[in-house]
């Protein structure tokens, strides 16, 4: 089999160009490797080789994300590589986000296998771990050897399209896809060990993490509601009659964005619910029962609120579903911010 051609992405620091003062350098494609790439090449022997390295400053990437991304994509494409590797970024936040963003882009647009590595608390890990394989590294460059030891074999497997084993076997950050494996010890022995650790306040790793129950700090209160733009969102599935965007009744693959300019009330002649998670009769009769446009219009007229935002966002979500459509909300929250929304009323069934 021919040697696998790999292109490697690193920031200014790992290219040996400089630290923060050089973080604004623009993307550059070089033939050959940087030290991290040398280590990978050494680990691969005759199997694979980094032929090109792309270098970009972290600040430049962070501040010019779309442009930088497009430039880098062209560079990757021009090399004709079989695989793309970014980092490892360890605990460097902007570098981690850059590695995750570019690797995800490469995977989605060029369709070649990608791999990166970073510390589990790197913000890039949370953003991209469900989309690409991210090897879990230590929190600083001192963990380079360990990172290469995990990345090199996983990269080969990915490049060859081989079966990827469970996260604890391959060393990637758990990505939410459950993969079976045979443990050395039976479940009972593992349970007793875990309990002893838990009883002694020693660290232990659950084999099945419960869904995310983390919290976000509350944002400050709205100071002057009479000047505020209030947006409505719902997980109750409110849609125009006939459900033109075909929002699925459960586990929907997209969310709805609808204009309510001039709409005074969610009357049953024009609106309905796409939600399959409850008896739709009442909301189909009167959509204000789910999305209170009628009273907010009154409040807009009376000056209680500054303005009702002219778009609302809708998803179908069981109130009690353990999984939530996190990505949708991330996306439309950004849209609302860009549109100058000040606060949000989210209604759920």
């Amino acid at each position: 089999m021919a040697k696998i051609k790999v292109v490697h992405y690193v920031n200014q620091f790992y290219a040996g160009i400089g630290g923060e003062e050089k973080a604004d350098i623009t993307p550059e494609l070089r033939v050959g490797t940087v030290p991290a790439g040398d280590a990978l090449n050494k680990a691969w022997g005759e199997e694979a080789e980094i032929t090109h390295t792309i270098i970009c400053g972290d600040s430049y990437f962070g501040e010019n994300m779309d442009k930088a991304s497009a430039e880098i994509m062209e560079m990757v494409k021009s090399t004709g590589a079989d695989m793309f590797i970014a980092g490892p970024a360890f605990n460097a936040g902007r570098y981690g986000v850059a590695c995750g963003t570019i690797a995800t882009n490469v995977k989605n647009t060029l369709g070649i296998p990608v791999l990166t590595g970073m510390y589990v608390e790197n913000p890039g890990a949370d953003m991209y771990k469900t989309q690409i394989y991210i090897v879990a590294t230590k929190d600083s460059g001192a963990g380079m050897r360990d990172a290469i030891k995990k990345m090199a074999p996983l990269a080969l497997k990915l490049a060859r399209g081989e079966k990827i084993e469970a996260s604890c076997v391959e060393g990637y950050i758990p990505n939410g896809v459950r993969v079976n494996l045979f443990e050395k010890e039976c479940g009972a022995a593992r349970a007793v060990k875990m309990l002893i650790a838990k009883l002694n306040d020693k660290p232990f790793v659950t084999e099945f993490p419960m869904p995310d129950f983390d919290r976000v700090e509350p944002n400050p209160a709205v100071l002057d509601m009479s000047k505020a733009t209030v947006a409505l969102c719902t997980s109750g599935g409110s849609v125009p009659k006939g459900n033109p965007d075909r929002i699925e009744s459960s586990s929907a693959s997209h969310y709805g964005e609808y204009d309510i300019t001039g709409v005074m009330s969610m009357d049953g002649d024009h609106w309905e619910t796409a939600h399959g998670g409850y008896d739709p009769v009442y909301v189909n009769e009167d959509g204000n029962r789910c999305l209170p446009v009628d009273v907010l219009r009154e409040m807009e007229a009376s000056g209680r609120i500054g303005k009702l935002h002219n778009k609302f966002y809708t998803t179908v979500g069981n109130g009690t579903a353990v999984l939530s459509s996190k990505a949708f909300a991330e996306e439309y929250a950004q849209k609302m911010i860009n549109d100058g929304v000040d606060c949000v009323i989210m209604t759920s069934t």
Binding site: A166, S167, C168, V169, P174, G176, V177, R178, V179, N180, L181, F182, E183, K184, E185, C186, G187, A188, A189, R190, A191, V192, M194, L195, I196, K198, L199, N200, F204, T206, E207, F208, P209, M210, P211, F213, A321, V322, L323
Partner: protein
């Protein structure tokens, strides 16, 4: 209380036309003796007996139960109290065990029954019973026998055969003797004042036909959560009536050799003080679930536990019991580790459990039961293969032209066992 298990290591099973016996690690069986024993029950029309050894190209399906042959040689009670023996308390004296042998019963009680044991090939890795020397007892009922009576007949026949084989080991000197001692609460507290106190909370499937478990002959759905001496469990107090969705159901063999109990005994007096075994049920009625989990928490507190291990049995609604038990026990300040399995979909991307709670922060998993496996054809099939396409984890037309069967591992007996009996897991 002290229990000795005298293990007679079995390295092979052979048929004979003469008397059945155990000699030099070989279990020699006269199949006619087995048949006449089974056919004592007028509800059973016919019986066939086969041998399945590790590594042989053999598939057994649908598996009804797996039972370890044993005999009580010293002390009160007998094997399978409430069924074969009287209800005298077991768990003391000596019991001889034909270690490495198992009785596997098979028979079609309902059309969608599964339970696959492959003795070789990829499927063999997923079942613990590919490593035992199995005496397979295949039984057909008399015409028109109702499913409840059919299940009962097969269950009892399995116990009878296991006792018959066990009896052959009565006079044999065991290769090894394992001794287990369980002190009462006061004594163990005196002996190990500084060790954390740990109990085992075992959830027993208890919902109806092919979903039942029995304790000293009592249907577990008609019990309140209670305390049992773990030695009683090790000595046959709990038996299985439970075989559908066989990946996470406990055959009788698993109760006899409950690994949570064994591991707790291993750690007892060293890193923890094993203070008790709480058995609770998994009923259909929600008020029963509330009540039973209240009692688990209350008894764990009553035993003065610092920690417990909770094991589940089955899929779906027991997730509710599991989370209730965990939340209520954690709320008492008692630390928990739970053992479950997952139904994360064939792609591993779906929600694994039907319930969740942040207090369940220490989980051991028996793996994703939806994982798909291709089982190549075996030279011999004992049982009814043509039912494989209508079973849990199977699907219509899942046997290809070469005889490969595509199934989810939920069809394989013991694959994702939730008492931590096997070593499959997931991440």
């Amino acid at each position: 209380m002290k229990l000795e298990l005298g293990n007679i290591i079995i390295n092979d099973i052979q048929f004979t036309n003469e008397g059945s016996k155990v000699e030099n690690g070989v279990l020699t069986v006269n199949p006619e003796q087995i048949k006449s024993l089974v056919l004592e029950d007028s509800n059973i029309e016919s019986c066939e007996v086969f041998i399945a050894r590790p590594g042989e190209s053999v598939r057994i399906t649908p598996v009804k139960d797996v039972i370890e042959p044993r005999v009580k040689v010293e002390g009160p009670g007998g094997i399978f109290p409430g069924w074969i023996a009287k209800v005298d308390t077991v768990g003391s004296g000596r019991t001889n065990v034909l270690k490495g042998a198992a009785v596997v019963t098979t028979g079609k009680i309902v059309g969608f029954q599964e339970g696959i044991i492959d003795m070789t090939g990829p499927g063999a890795d997923y079942t613990p019973f590919s490593k035992t020397y199995n005496l397979v007892v295949k039984m057909e009922p008399v015409e028109g026998l109702k499913q409840h009576d059919h299940e009962y007949a097969l269950r009892i026949a399995g116990f009878k055969v296991a006792c018959f084989l066990g009896e052959l080991g009565r006079a044999v000197t065991p290769d090894e003797i394992e001794t287990f001692e369980f002190d009462n609460l006061v004594e163990s507290a005196k002996k190990y004042p500084d060790l954390p106190r740990v109990a085992y909370v075992q959830m027993l499937q208890s919902q109806g036909l092919l979903h039942d478990t029995y304790v000293y002959g009592v249907d577990a759905k008609r019990t309140l959560t209670t305390i049992i001496n773990p030695l009683e469990t090790m000595d046959g107090a709990i038996v299985s009536g439970n075989c559908v969705s066989s990946c996470d159901k406990n055959p009788t063999y698993v109760h006899l050799n409950n690994k949570v109990i064994r591991e707790l005994f291993k750690a007892h007096g060293k890193t923890l003080n094993f203070v008790g075994h709480i058995i609770t049920n998994e009923n259909v009625y929600l008020a029963d679930k509330e009540r039973s989990s209240n009692w688990s928490a209350k008894l764990a507190e009553y035993l003065g536990c610092d920690g417990v291990i909770i094991s589940q049995e089955g899929f779906g609604n027991p997730d509710t019991d599991l989370i209730m038990n965990t939340k209520k026990i954690e709320a008492k300040g008692i630390k928990t580790v739970i053992i479950t399995d997952e139904y994360a979909g064939r792609d591993g991307k779906s929600q694994s459990l039907a319930d969740a709670d942040p207090s369940a922060n220490a989980v051991v998993t028996g793996g994703n039961a939806n994982q798909v496996i291709v089982l190549p054809p075996m030279e011999t099939v004992y049982g009814h293969l043509h039912f494989v396409d209508t079973i849990a984890g199977g699907s219509a037309n899942n046997i290809d032209a070469h005889g490969n069967i595509t199934v989810e591992i939920q069809a394989i007996t013991g694959a994702t066992n939730e008492t931590g009996f096997h070593n499959l897991s997931a991440r």
